[in-house]
């Protein structure tokens, strides 16, 4: 054992492992390669950290994201140089856009070979420079401990995000003194978390005076921890205002609450979008006025004053001009507002709530039973009913199934909903479910997928098998890239260019090939039994649920439309759009 204050000499790889342990890291999601052999050697027979071997580095990054979003702790990724790092870029960019705390360690060719087009060399720092919060190229093992310490601080504070550390192989092998006390370093990153007193007072006055207030909440509430969700509920109760959430914020406020409006935005509910449009005060908590929510900017919420609580100054006035920005952590600022509100009584907003009830009466999430096939919305509803008692963690891939899951699966608590919102990465859900399962052994974890998306990281079936992770994959198989097909139907006059899922595998046999249980559901009469069989099996299960091939996801705000020009179920559609609208995302 080391005497106090007498530093040992340890290799860079060993220092890395020790610092990760000191940070409380339990899992590292990774894949070995030449440039990280020294680190993998340091991990061999290391029992304080569990290494989860994926089958593709994209899987490692998404698994770390799923772990992070479901536990609130940073996800750690370990990949090799060159293709290892470039394969992880999608996951890093995903974490950047959705503000997920990740620390990504990449191997690099030896320092002397950098810039010589060496074997498996890539300019990892250059490539990831603009899709991570910060990155480092470690030149000397003496700086490694401080770098890792700072990396974790940057990843997890302020607006969370990915931080990358590129470590050349010779730096992993070279040695440096190791002190088992935290490294002394200058703190250069200290984001503001407390709102200004004047802003808080003004916010309280504006809320108290509003006749038609609405809460617009987002992923920032989830990132600020369970306390933020608690305080959001408290403030909503004090004010009585109706509340909506973005895709990323689902679960911060209980869906079972009578004032819950449902998700807003492109595929949000009629009442949520109308409430935002007709409100005289929008209280934005931890959301960023994204284009999926606003629709055409000049028609967005034209009569309202807007309060914007956000920890990232760069999100303020980026797309929509707001009246009262409050820079700070959601939990802290909500706490300040609750304290400043004190014993006030809220204004009578029953007239406003009556209008909201009128919009609810439209029942915009109702769907037709049009074919003999299972309605995809029904599959989600039955999945919700039969699993809710288990308090499941749900991940999704990207597309129509993702929107239907957001609409029809109800979340009453945070950290149960894992989805790729900002980047919209197909292939996210299966590895994210794996990461969440690692963080929650014994919990029910389900990836709701489409048959196109699930193929993007299908190789991760092997990861779940290896580590005995009983994740469930529930595929809504409609034989098409549903969301693309829908847009081609509505915007390109049904010219279905390359959106058909041709040459699909037999998913049941594919699952069985990986040692999973496979279940196929083809008829509505078998839906409940199929879900029960999925739950009953002790181990990973893949369900291939055949659903209506041409169902469209409504409501929908088409490109270029205002957020109240929603297409609803049953509306006639022209099938085409003008160029200005087509040019929008």
């Amino acid at each position: 054992m080391n005497e106090a204050n007498v530093p040992q000499e340890r290799s860079g790889a060993s220092i890395l492992v020790e610092t990760l342990v000191a940070q409380g890291v339990e899992f590292v999601f990774g894949y070995p390669g030449g440039a990280v052999l020294p680190i993998y050697d340091a991990l061999f027979s290391e029992d304080r950290i569990r290494h989860i071997l994926v089958r593709h580095e994209a899987g490692a990054a998404h698994a770390a994201e799923g772990y992070a979003r479901s536990t609130g702790k940073p996800g750690v990724v370990l990949v090799t140089s060159g293709p290892g790092a470039t394969n992880a870029v999608t996951g890093i960019a995903d974490a950047f856009l959705d503000s997920i705390p990740l620390v990504v360690i990449t191997g690099q060719v030896p320092s002397g070979l950098i810039g010589s087009d060496a074997f498996q060399e890539a300019d990892t720092i250059g490539i990831t420079r603009h899709c991570c919060k910060h990155n480092y190229l470690v030149k000397d093992p003496t700086e490694l401990a401080a770098i890792i310490d700072e990396a974790f601080q940057i990843a997890t504070t302020g607006r969370p995000g990915p931080v990358l550390i590129d470590i050349p192989k010779d730096v992993q092998i070279a040695s440096a003194p190791w002190h088992d006390v935290p490294p002394q370093r200058k703190i250069r990153y200290a984001p503001q978390t407390t709102g200004g007193v004047d802003e808080i007072e003004l916010a309280v006055d504006m809320i108290a005076a509003a006749r038609a207030p609405v809460f617009y909440t987002g992923g920032g509430v989830i990132n600020a921890g369970p306390l933020a969700s608690e305080r959001l509920r408290q403030l909503q109760a004090l004010t009585g205002a109706p509340l909506t959430s973005t895709l990323m914020g689902l679960g911060a406020f209980p869906a079972s609450h009578p004032d819950w409006l449902g998700m807003l935005g492109m595929h949000g509910t009629y009442e949520a979008n109308w409430a935002m449009n007709q409100a005289d005060l929008v209280i934005c908590v931890g959301a960023r006025f994204d284009d999926r929510v606003t629709g055409r900017l000049d028609a967005f919420s034209p009569h309202s004053k807007k309060i914007h609580i956000d920890i990232d100054r760069a999100s303020i006035n980026k797309t929509v001009q707001v009246d009262l920005p409050i820079i700070g952590d959601c939990a802290e600022v909500l706490g300040q507002i609750i304290d400043a509100w004190g014993q006030r009584k809220p204004r009578d907003i029953s007239e406003w709530k009556a209008r909201v009830a009128g919009w609810r009466a439209k029942k915009s999430l109702d769907y037709p039973k049009t074919s003999a096939e299972i309605a995809p919305q029904l599959a989600i509803e039955r999945l919700y009913e039969l699993t809710k008692a288990h308090d499941p963690i749900i991940s999704t891939e990207v597309g129509q199934h993702q929107m239907w899951a957001a609409q029809h699966f109800h979340f009453n608590d945070p950290n149960r909903w894992l989805t790729s919102g900002g980047l919209g990465t197909m292939g996210y859900g299966l590895p994210a479910a794996i990461g969440a399962q690692c963080g929650h052994p014994g919990r029910l974890v389900i990836d709701i997928a489409g048959e196109a998306s699930i193929q993007m990281n299908i190789q991760e079936l092997g990861t779940a098998s290896q580590f005995r992770l009983p994740v469930k994959v529930f595929i809504l198989n409609n034989q098409w890239m549903g969301m693309v097909r829908q847009w081609q139907e509505l915007t390109y006059e049904s010219r279905y260019s390359s959106s058909y899922s041709d040459a699909l595998p037999d998913f049941v046999r594919l699952a069985e090939a990986y040692g999973w249980k496979g279940i196929r559901i083809e008829h509505e009469a078998d839906l409940d039994a199929g879900i029960q069989a999925m739950l009953a099996h002790d181990g990973p299960v893949l369900v291939d649920c055949m659903v209506d091939k041409v169902a469209n996801c409504f409501p929908m705000i088409p490109s270029g439309a205002s957020h109240v020009e929603m297409i609803l179920q049953g509306d006639a559609v022209a099938g085409t759009m003008d160029d200005a609208a087509k040019a929008l995302v």
């Binding site: 420079r129 603009h130 190229l137 940057i154 250069r188 990153y189 760069a314 006035n317």
Partner: protein, 171 residues
């Protein structure tokens, strides 16, 4: 038919104080390119005793909302200490240095030297048929001199881009 429309733009001079670490210039310049902001000129040098801090001066142009975003995006970068918008900050000094090579003989050579005198440029290189002038001043002053030299045998121009500083006694 759809046409691309450009919004009304303003010129802004930003000074950014940063940690002098490897890749910082690529990070700042790359931020501009990645987000589609304009860089009209950019200059950087380390300004502290221990080479730990650098100052970058960027001239950009864009609509007011974009300028506000540029500032916010720069401020949230980890190595950035401070961002100052000189254009918003009140009276400030802007200076640039240029080296201007002019070749010629006879009257053109004489005129070039006379104009250099008028502009208070220094001669830093000479042959019997050429000069290199060193000129400091506002970008407009340098523009004017270059325009004149084009008629008198201009061969080559190198410019640093501006550095700027708020007037008065505080940083």
């Amino acid at each position: 038919m759809m046409h691309i429309i450009h919004a009304a733009e303003e010129r802004h001079v930003l000074t950014v104080t940063v940690d002098n670490e490897a890749g910082i210039l690529a990070k700042i310049a790359g931020l501009f390119t990645a987000r589609g902001y304009n860089i009209d000129s950019l200059t950087v040098a380390d300004i502290s005793d221990n080479h730990a801090v650098s100052r970058i001066t960027i001239v950009t142009h864009g609509p007011p909302r974009v300028i506000d975003q540029i500032r916010a995006q720069l401020e949230r970068l980890v190595p950035v200490h401070k961002v100052t918008d000189l254009t918003e900050g009140g009276p400030h000094v802007e200076r640039e240095l240029a080296l201007i090579k002019v070749a010629g003989t006879g009257d053109a050579r004489v005129e070039a030297l006379r104009l250099a005198d008028v502009f208070r440029a220094k001669v830093v290189d000479t042959t019997t048929a050429s000069f290199i002038f060193e000129l400091t001043g506002t970008p407009e002053k340098i523009d004017s001199f270059v325009v004149l030299m084009r008629e008198l045998g201009l061969v080559e121009v190198g410019r640093t881009g501006i550095v700027g500083m708020i007037r008065g006694g505080t940083a």
